[in-house]
Amino acid sequence: MTTVSTTTSEVVRDYQTPPSQFDAECALLAMLVLNQSSTQRAARQDVQIDYQKLDELKAQLAAAAQQAQQASDDSGFWGFISDVFGSDVAEVAGAVAAAAAVVATGGAATPLLLVVMSTALETGAKVGAELGLDPKICMAIAIAGAAIGLCAGNGAGELGKAAKAAQTVERVATTVQGSSIVVSGATGYVSGQYAADAADRQADAAWINGQQNAANLDIDDAIATLERALRAQDSMTGTVAQIQQDTARANSVLVGNV
């Protein structure tokens, strides 16, 4: 806050009209100083008002920045959720559905695929054991390989059951895929709304910043006016003092001549 000394204006404030005992120069000085004092008062008031405005704007700017940050964080969170559902969950579910579809449609390659998978898993279990992989994991791989091998080797009946199961898996996976896409869309919308909120708050911040700059310009102007008024007052006082000196000197010369 600015508090400017008001000594001169206070001194002059009481002289609404120059006292009659003043000579012309002093009366003129008093009037001019009165005038400059009111200018100074107005300038000081302007500065104070502008500083108050600046304080308010600063608070508003801080609030807008905080809200923008909060909205941005929320947008990021919901965007992450949207990505998880839209990319990860939906894609995995889609891949499962596609794999299940291959089995479910009973394609000619299914038995061959199952044999290849079974062999690969059995080999993987053996190699894993040799390389020191956890025996439990090796056992699980071997069991999975054996189960697939069983399906592959058990003729049309078992394949039919596997196809039915695969159909169910495909349906469920597709449903999960669709649901996750819907969730992804909904959360993406929420994320977008928060992003728009953040952009809105940033726009507010830009406007507040503009007002701050304008207030700073006003403060500069008011301070310049105040400075000018003070300088003018000093100058007037000096001038009138000089006038008084000149008058006194002229009087002494005149007195000396008499």
């Binding site: 839209g86 449903t175 869309g185």
Partner: protein
């Protein structure tokens, strides 16, 4: 009362200088009047630049708000496509379960409808991002570019206001010097008058 002119001249307002008698004094008064007129002009330029700055800042904020609206619209359109795509995918899964002949589940289901829904779902889902970019992101970028332009204009106006303020300060300093000059002229006049009076 000749000396009173200097005091009058200290004021910013237009004043009467009828009592100035010397050529130097008149020149000084003319200089003060010129400086005063220039100061008024600079003040007006400064006020105008300030107003322009505020207008430009408001315009910038409006463009940024428009960009925010475009982002919201884009999000809505993108979400609409995505949700529609997801619903189509779910419908395709639902149709996979329906046998072609409800009375005889042994008849294999016709997957055509399911595949069609799945294709539509995939298409809608894939369209979501381009639609969002078209409706939202590109419009928002366009608005942001406009906002940047207004910001640049505003900065230019601010510089103009600042330059006008600097010029105003310089003019005031010059005016002070001229006032000092006028005061000195008056002092010299008085000294001369006193000297003359002393010789009488």
């Amino acid at each position: 009362m000749t000396n009173a002119v200097s005091a009058y001249a200290s004021q910013d307002q237009a004043t009467s200088y009828d009592h100035i008698t010397t050529a130097a004094g008149e020149l000084a008064v003319l200089l003060i009047e010129t400086e005063s007129a220039q100061a008024n002009s600079e003040q007006a330029a400064r006020q105008s630049a300030r107003q322009t700055y505020l207008t430009d800042a408001a315009q910038q904020a409006t463009e940024l708000h428009d960009a925010a609206s475009a982002i919201a619209t884009g999000a809505l359109v993108g979400a609409a496509f995505t949700v529609a795509g997801g619903i189509c995918t779910i419908e395709s899964a639902h149709l996979q379960a329906s046998p072609t002949v409800p009375a005889n589940p042994a008849v294999p289901a016709d997957q055509t409808a399911s595949k069609t829904w799945a294709a539509v779902g995939t298409g809608l889902t894939n369209l979501a991002q381009p639609a969002k970019a078209l409706v939202g992101d590109s419009t928002a970028e366009n608005d942001r570019a406009s906002a940047k332009e207004w910001e640049t204009r505003g900065e230019t106006a601010r510089w103009t206001a600042s330059d006008a303020q600097t010029e105003l300060d310089a003019l005031n300093r010059r005016s002070d010097k001229v006032l000092d000059l006028l005061q000195n002229i008056n002092q010299d006049q008085n000294a001369a008058a006193n000297a003359v009076i002393g010789r009488i």
